[in-house]
Symmetry: C2
Subunit: 328 residues, 2 copies
Amino acid sequence: MADAAPGLGEFGRIARFFAPLALPGALDLKDDVALIDGPDGDQYVLTTDTIVESIDYFPDDPPFQVAQKLLRVNLSDLAAKGARPFGYLLNTSLPSECGEDWLTAFTAGLAADQKEFGIGLLGGDSTKIPGPTSLTVMAMGRIARCKAVLRRGASNDEIIYVSGSLGDSALGLQVRLGALQGLSATASAYLIDRYRLPQPRLGLGQQLVSVARAMIDISDGLIADLGHLCAASGLGAVIAAEKLPLSQAASEAISANPIFKKAVIGGGDDYELLFTAPADASERVAEAARAAKVTVTAIGRMQSDGGVRLIDAHGSPVKVDLAGYTHF
Amino acid sequence: MADAAPGLGEFGRIARFFAPLALPGALDLKDDVALIDGPDGDQYVLTTDTIVESIDYFPDDPPFQVAQKLLRVNLSDLAAKGARPFGYLLNTSLPSECGEDWLTAFTAGLAADQKEFGIGLLGGDSTKIPGPTSLTVMAMGRIARCKAVLRRGASNDEIIYVSGSLGDSALGLQVRLGALQGLSATASAYLIDRYRLPQPRLGLGQQLVSVARAMIDISDGLIADLGHLCAASGLGAVIAAEKLPLSQAASEAISANPIFKKAVIGGGDDYELLFTAPADASERVAEAARAAKVTVTAIGRMQSDGGVRLIDAHGSPVKVDLAGYTHF
């Protein structure tokens, strides 16, 4: 979820230290998943994420919702490949304060999401630590062989789409921190909920198999994750700032606090799907969105020039300043 | 690896909070693995273990060996099912002190053991934390469907065997702590090495498929893990104290420090295989041991009375006092 050493940065460290250790199914560690052969012509899609108290959630967040967030950040990675979720392993590193009351609420959250998403527990480990609480899930999904939508695979001129709305979670975090004020109670509650409770777009991801050519979920922010998709495909992208989909609450928050506009492109933790499809597939994309009951918005186009450019309604470049939205 | 809350204890918490969440392949969370369908008539065997600095290893242990220990405690669980190791996911939670030098040594240790055991990296996540360092591996093996040797499955009167020698690792920890003195340098070095570097008995485990009826690796100590095997099979066991296999170094250590005798039955971290086989399979067990180049010793017999009893050479009960060898 976060960078562990200054200098090389997370992705530099992965490329230098870990990629040489990887099996072919690990996709050079350049996707968020690995693919291994499964039964009946399927592949398993494997992903893992760790969340840590005071970094990825607040110490006073309800354990029920912490459990849901833990599962959902992993399920979002499966969604971005078009996979059907199947099961998970869970490692808990808990300080002594996390006793039976905590476990009761935490496992109730797991049970609720198991039911919602059709998954079950496969195993795990528990460790006692001084703190902070650290929670790891390794989630598995299934998909027909060679059907997973990867980060790589986009082509020049393809349309770039995003699901749902952008920036809500990052704005919700700012509300939670008391840094974003003057909002209606409804808007505040909506944004905080979007921060606490990601909505993995599993239905949409599955509908997009054979439609989307490249896909990623937005966890590091639109610009960063589009950059990953572009790098994997050896292409660049141009995005129309005025097309970026905002919720009513995000619009309200940004009107009152324009400085937070950059949350939309760099906030992270959106857990929306970002994908490309050929221009002639627009009706199939719309059908997938309708079937999954999720809005999908065309926001730009892949191009052969490298890098990600943001333009305004007149086609002029918009300066991208993400300072303050890096994780560290 | 360790108990996370007082009261129910690790196994009580698993049974109460987590077993209700488990899929069928999770074996009611009563084994150390889950089994899921793989390709070509195989099953995948999944296991996960977390190791934590200052709990499972010393802060000044070389990162190269920490990496090996991390992989090997997981591989030992695969060995105990008879599986062939295949791949793993790795989650690192590192404090800022673990920079590029640490990563260089740590990943060199991973690379060495990948080569030794024929496994590769499938993915992972990295998180920055204040400390202590916490490392999680989820390891996968493969085995022909329905061939995995489980904890359950032992029958009355079957012979109980153990691989290698017992107590070395626990004694090595005491040497490391300075609590066990008066040893030759050779014996000290041997015991410390056995503590730092588990030897997963993968070859033996694979040879024992279709020979062993129930199997577990010894991580919590002989008596505790035999108790798990017995409970899973609904049986008890009687063990002959004088048959327990000791290394020369362990014999030397216990002669000089008789109080540490209990390390042999309760020390833990042995990572030897404990298994049962019918009396008429003794030649097949011996063949498996020869093929794997690991000693195997018959130490007792399954019986219908519940519990684990230790007897001396005259058949009299030996009092088992494991105080001081619980993890917390």
